[in-house]
């Protein structure tokens, strides 16, 4: 099981994802330069947080044209696991690998703080190690995390159980008080219909050790590891 962390110019959570996987979870992990079309035989690709190309145009709008994204798209279409975190989520939206778009946060300000998210689905490779309804404490750090989509898309997402995480209050209510950025239906993370591509605004790689005030983010990486291992086991069985 090997992870690849893509490095775009302006990625700045690449090292954090690398640390979480390589040092905390002790799993093989490599950086993949955005100019490369070779994914180094990785089993899962992470598009990390940051400000790819400065996010001067629209978040993720330029990064999606990086050479590496052609390979990521193909990898995803072949069923490979792709997780986009924060800017990575924004890139997946721009690339059309996930539905919807991001707007500026409702308060029009950057927000960095721990928030609470509820696990909505567990039958995905990104949440299979979690309990349905479990409340995770994970930080957000973004200006453009206000997830939005049209009604038909929202209906579709709900119908196919693609909403993986919703922002809630500490008590688990997905109301306005629990919504830090104005996201439609308190959506914090979604997956595609095939369930192998997911994106979320909160940063699980920042919640992987007790000293960082939470290690709830490990659940997401552990789920991915479990999914790949089980999949490989099935394939070889």
């Amino acid at each position: 099981m090997k992870f690849g962390v893509v490095v775009f110019p302006g990625s700045n959570c690449d090292h954090d994802a690398f640390h979480a996987i390589g040092h905390v979870l002790q799993k093989p992990v490599e950086f993949i330069w955005h100019q490369s079309e070779d994914l180094h035989h990785c089993d899962a690709i992470i598009l990390p947080g940051g400000f790819s190309y400065g996010d001067y145009l629209r978040t993720g709008a330029i990064a999606r044209f990086s050479p590496v994204m052609k390979s990521v798209e193909k990898f995803a279409n072949d069923g490979g696991l792709v997780l986009g975190i924060c800017n990575g989520f924004q890139i997946l939206l721009e690339a059309g690998l996930l539905p919807g778009a991001m707007m500026r946060n409702a308060g029009l300000r950057f927000i960095c703080k721990h928030v609470h998210i509820r696990v909505e689905e567990t039958n995905t490779p990104f949440t299979c190690a979690a309990e349905k309804g479990e409340i995770l404490t994970i930080p957000i750090a973004h200006s453009d995390g206000n997830y939005t989509c049209d009604e038909a898309t929202l209906k579709d997402l709900e119908k196919h159980h693609q909403v993986l995480f919703r922002y809630t209050t500490p008590g688990g209510k997905d109301d306005a008080a629990g919504n830090p950025n104005g996201s439609t239906a308190n959506i914090a993370g979604i997956c595609n219909r095939a369930r192998n591509v997911a994106g979320l605004m909160p940063h699980p790689e920042r919640a992987v050790e007790e000293v960082l005030d939470s290690n709830d983010g490990l659940l997401i990486f552990r789920s991915m590891i479990e999914a790949v291992v089980n999949n490989t086991a099935k394939a070889t069985a």
Partner: protein, 769 residues
Amino acid sequence: MATAPTEVKVTPEIAAEHGVTQEEYGRIQKILGRDPNITELGIFSVMWSEHCSYKSSKVHLKRLPTRGKLVVQGPGENAGVVDIGDGLVAAFKIESHNHPSYVEPFQGATTGVGGILRDIFTMGARPIAVMDSLRFGEITPSKTTNEEEAAKNRRILDGVVRGVGSYGNCFGVPTVGGEVAFEPCYAQNPLVNALALGIARKEEIFLAKAKGIGNPVIYVGAKTGRDGIHGASLLASAEFTEESQQKRPNVQVGDPFMEKLLLEACLEAMKTGAVVAIQDMGAAGLTCSTCEMASRGGTGIEIDLAKVPQRETGMTPYEIMLSESQERMLLVAEKGREQEVLAVFKKWGLDAMVVGDVTDGGLLVVKDHGKVAAQIPAHPLAEEGPIYNRPVAEPTPGKESERDWFPFSADGTDLTANFTKLLASPTIASKRWITEQYDSMVRTNTLAGPGASDAAVVRIKETKRALALATDGNGRWCQLNPKVGAMHAVAEAARNVATSGARPIAATNCLNFGSPEKPEVMWQFSQAIDGVGEACVALGTPITGGNVSFYNETLGKSIYPTPVIGILGLLEDATRVLKVGFRKAGDVILLLDGAGDSDGRQKTGAKAAQEFSSSEYSKTIAGIVAGEPPAIDLVAEKRLIDCMVALAEAGTIQSAHDISDGGLAVTLAESCFGASGLGAETKLNGAANAEYALFGESGARVVVSVSPEKLAAVWTTARQYGVGALEIGKVTGDNALRIEYKGHGVVSAQVPTLKDIWAYSLERHLKIQ
């Protein structure tokens, strides 16, 4: 050899327009042996500006202690460097960006952060934390500030906060804290002091010395434009007048994405081993980087401006040399290996051009398409600028008497209402609304972010250690007594670091003052230097760098003298970080006092009133700013620091929070805000008035909470260090804060109510929902 013909003939009048005095002009003629051309005059004017040359402060700065056994690099390089063990060093420095932040708050603040970050990675260190020390005018209408002015101050604050956030967030360095304070004197001259910290392997530190005759000089990073010309000389080295808004073109524009690429590319290029020296182009841009590198290396540099990447066409040598376009670096590579360096910058999509080489003979030669545009001996230009021992005069103190001082309430008065008012005051209220706009966690090293501990704490992943950082500076106290005020700034920053569990090891300073041409300002400056020096010696924290910011005045009125001190601390065991919040009901609350028996320090009568009149409480409740800052006892501060480090190491205390703005009562309240459901029940006694006891701000005191079974161990440690440890109450589980003084309940309130006031006041004042 003749210099290139230029259109403008330089006269003493033109020199004066450049801020060059007649005497300085004479000095330039002597160094050159002729009249300078316009480009040369421009070069001299920026290098000899107050901002770049420290001409008024140099004679005083010499009195600061700069040596210590951990100091690897003291003042004079891009940043100070200290040894932090495990083969690693920390590079850190604080710098001001005050005037640009008033003229253009967003860009002023971004470029302030960008500049200090470049100073750090120029040394070969990867930035791991940023802090900001900010001062603004009052944001709520008061006796001194009308609504229109308050609204303007709020806009400045908003722009600065967005600027600080936008740069650090995009660059990918956590902004881990700092402080924000409000006084009317900063209304037209806010202070934006940015501190950055980085780490590097000891043997991989880079210095800015151009060595090796024939080595190529390489320009990297952003293209040069016309922005920021004379930022250092005309903007930073003159006071504001009514026309200051016209100085907007002098403010540079920041591009954090470019800087992020520059960081990665520079660190990667340094790893090739082909880089000999490197310096960022900050104030005075290409001028400063060329002549300083040559001067330090004892060499010369020759460059051709035709090779400098340019953003605009038709730029003159004068403009190119003086541009302060951001995100640029100048480096010297080993001859024959320049391709290795250029390849790295190409990979990161950055401009990198060989623009010249290191020469023998010590001359800075600037050519434009092969023609000499300027030719100046580098060393005299960089190091032999004018030095002024300006007149110093103590201002005649206004006569104060008891009538001018704070009138204490009668003992037994319920002070809850005043207390809640104090918690809501912008300087004391939580800065959550500000710090949540900063990414304080990126790089996942932040063990204590904004407000969690008295200092920000970041771990060093490859070791067991962590570094703590705090900045402090009370301008009001320095106005009342610059020497004592400056000592408090050092003591409080060091105490904050120790209260997080770390040992204070080194300091950096940002000295914000009015015009050095005023003898009273120079007196304040000289006094403050003495105070900083004395305190740094006593507390074992040598000054490793920093900057001086003069001319902080508008229409002839100076700001409060405001030395801001940043202290770096080392925590041997990163798991021992101490945080502010109480943790468990039933824990015992102790008041630790470096002066020993805390009762003995309580003042009464006129002495108490005089001291108390300089407090935040006196200002907020009675509108009185007078008297004297609390007396300072550096020996007591040192004892307390050593005791805190020992307690953290032993792991015997649950929480720790020092007593500063707002006194003991505010410290207790903030300690209750950490975990939900907790409160405190405390009983105090003493000779002083209740307001003095609850809200007095004398130093060397920390409130800690201790599990009952560890109490004996804590007492033993306290005794060992000569620190008083007075039991003042217990942590309770009933969500209430109660303070009794001499048997009377003086404060009684629900913690959630207090917390709401404290946590949300700032955004209510800012009228932002």
